[in-house]
């Protein structure tokens, strides 16, 4: 088995980064950024999710390319769901 084994230091660093992100998102919620409150919150959440997927879920080190394609497919179809739904619901009051 030529499996990649991540170091304890890496796992602890990712853990600390995730805790930092949690603190940051709670702090950012107390600031009045107008419409950018949602943007900042989602940007921090996505950064945390990417860290989890790449390092805790070992996607950065996988040699199976299909795994990455499956993940991109999931994101793509979720974005279709959101984009087409919002194209309807968000524009109903437009005149």
């Amino acid at each position: 088995m030529s499996e990649h084994i991540s170091s304890v230091t890496l796992y602890v660093s990712i853990w600390l980064a995730l805790l930092l992100g949690t603190g940051l998102t709670v702090f950012a919620a107390t600031l009045d950024l107008g419409p950018f409150n949602a943007v900042v919150a989602l940007a921090i959440a996505t950064t945390k999710a990417v860290l989890v997927v790449l390092f805790f879920m070992h996607v950065k080190y996988t040699h199976e390319k299909l795994t990455k394609m499956v993940i991109v497919t999931a994101i793509f179809f979720f974005l279709i769901l959101v984009a087409l739904s919002m194209a309807d619901y968000a524009t109903r009051l437009w005149t």
């Binding site: 949690t22 409150n37 989890v52 879920m57 979720f78």
Partner: protein, 236 residues
């Protein structure tokens, strides 16, 4: 884990009893199991995705009411639970690593820690649910009432019907998430038992790895639920 006589021609079958005969190598077998798990997680993305999409639609329509309802949640407990879940993701990652480096006893320790953290999360969640029942913030109750006004508009009272939609989504999304946590804790109880029998090591730890993928996915769902449910319109 048995090896058929035909597979004994394959030299890898000799040193890895976990290798099934229809796979060429242990690596291929592990990749197949991992890919299958990822395809399952895609169906989970679409499952939670529907609820996230419903949330976005109603947040857009009932913007202020959602802000008022969100602020009624307990931010301290929500943040504490986020920290608990992130810690449990670390302990799972460490459990898998211990299998990779053949530390059999440490696998059991990290899995037990994960179970404790998972139960802590569920305990805090139960306390939050109880508070919502005590405060009459449960949608569908005749006594439902959310006091207060829309954020930054002290003259506009909260629309009770819109606030109930927020709490419907809150209970549906955190409830489905909690159900996934309960299933995850069940999986880890089984894996702890198997690990204590020495079932997992560098040659074979696929069940551990795949349960880990599931647990990290549930963590990611919470990473998005936390800001969307707890943190909207918190600023003055």
């Amino acid at each position: 884990m048995h090896t058929s006589p035909a597979a004994t021609d394959d030299h890898e079958a000799h040193d890895n009893p976990a290798l099934l005969h229809h796979f060429a190598t242990a690596e291929q077998q592990k990749d197949a199991a991992s890919l299958g798990m990822w395809v399952f997680l895609v169906t989970e993305v679409m499952f939670f995705g529907g609820m996230f999409c419903a949330y976005l639609v109603y947040r857009y329509w009932y913007f202020g009411d959602f802000g008022a309802a969100s602020s009624s949640l307990n931010l301290t407990l929500g943040t504490a639970n986020t920290v608990v879940l992130i810690c449990s993701s670390l302990t799972v990652a460490m459990a898998v690593r211990c299998a990779q480096v053949a530390k059999q006893k440490a696998i059991v320790v990290y899995l037990l820690l994960t179970i404790v953290l998972g139960l802590a999360f569920l305990g805090v969640k139960a306390k939050e649910y109880k508070d919502k029942f005590d405060e009459n913030h449960v949608p569908g109750q005749a006594s439902f009432h959310l006091d207060g006004s829309i954020p930054r508009h002290p003259d506009i009272a909260v629309n009770q019907r819109h606030a109930q939609i927020y709490f419907s989504l809150y209970f549906a999304m955190t409830g489905m998430h909690a159900l996934h946590m309960i299933i995850g804790v069940g999986l880890f109880v089984f894996l702890t038992y198997r690990a204590s029998k020495g079932a997992y090591g560098p040659g074979y730890y696929t069940p551990l790895e795949n349960a880990g993928l599931y647990w990290h996915f549930v963590d990611i769902v919470w990473i998005y639920l936390f800001p969307l449910l707890y943190l909207i319109d918190r600023h003055p």
